[in-house]
Symmetry: C2
Subunit: 204 residues, 2 copies
Amino acid sequence: MPERGHYDAPTIEPILDEAIVCHIGFVVDDQPYVIPSQHVRDGDRLLLHGSSASRPMRLLAAGARCCVTVTLLDGLVCARSAYNHSANYRSVAVLGMPTLIDDADEKLAALALFTNRIIPNRWADLRPPTATELKATTIVWLPLNEASAKVRSGPPGDPDEDVAEVDCWAGVIPARTTFGPPLADPRLRAGIEITDTIAGYSRA
Amino acid sequence: MPERGHYDAPTIEPILDEAIVCHIGFVVDDQPYVIPSQHVRDGDRLLLHGSSASRPMRLLAAGARCCVTVTLLDGLVCARSAYNHSANYRSVAVLGMPTLIDDADEKLAALALFTNRIIPNRWADLRPPTATELKATTIVWLPLNEASAKVRSGPPGDPDEDVAEVDCWAGVIPARTTFGPPLADPRLRAGIEITDTIAGYSRA
């Protein structure tokens, strides 16, 4: 089968680590909501953060059931029928009830993880968080024991008779997230050099 | 404000049209689930499709409350503090209760929209769906009257004192989804030409 579930850490962890954006699902009065956010994996935990004033973070801080899903699009699968058209992708869904991280040192360590995951070694270059900023930021974690991956890869899954009889081109258009040359902040002061991790940014 | 909500069609529609992947949120026994899927906009409706045998599609076909969110990552915002680190993105969330499309001709028209949205003019080249395939595919639609967009763009939002005092580089690393040279199906028969829409694929 080209598409199936996986429940092992060696499949799940690299998908979580490569994805920049996650989608957090939560429920208010029977209505599900799905919002984009950023995550970071810390061993066998998934950390989430956001504004302490926001409704989603207040719900998550209170331990509301949620689902965090990340999806990496790897390609557009062009088959010989609409039925077999598909996408190549790697996706992970994490279900659970979050736990609040309340301790200031733990919060600082978590923020360093968030920052350095996106831009390696960035944390050391930044102005440290103020007490007010720390308070305004809510951080929670989910265990990865209820995580599952779905992966589809490879060429179209057309049946042999379609391969033999249908005369259209078939194959895969590879897709990925790429990064352009960094744009300096118009307010950047003269003489401040860009770091190699930003100038040559990639997640490969 | 660099980040805020939008409720107008000229903001919402191009985001839905550019995004290839959507995330569908639904609820089963108080547990939210978020799954990746593909969508297509048809005027002021959002169409979703999937296997008739799958739990999500059975729920959606029955009119279950859902939230469909798409997110386009436009850049990584490198600020002078962790607090102002951010992402540039365009996101749309659509809330609602889906309506099933049951009529065979309407289903065919919807499948043509799904197909041609990803690869222009692809539908005409494909082997038409069989009655069994049509039955195995569930298609539903949501109105866009409960859709909202969130957009963040531009340089870091650092306060003036951080700009003056913090000596690290700041700016934006642009991000986008790009497509590589198409890979022909190993089973592709000799003499079948690739179309221009696939050979030079882009969503710009």
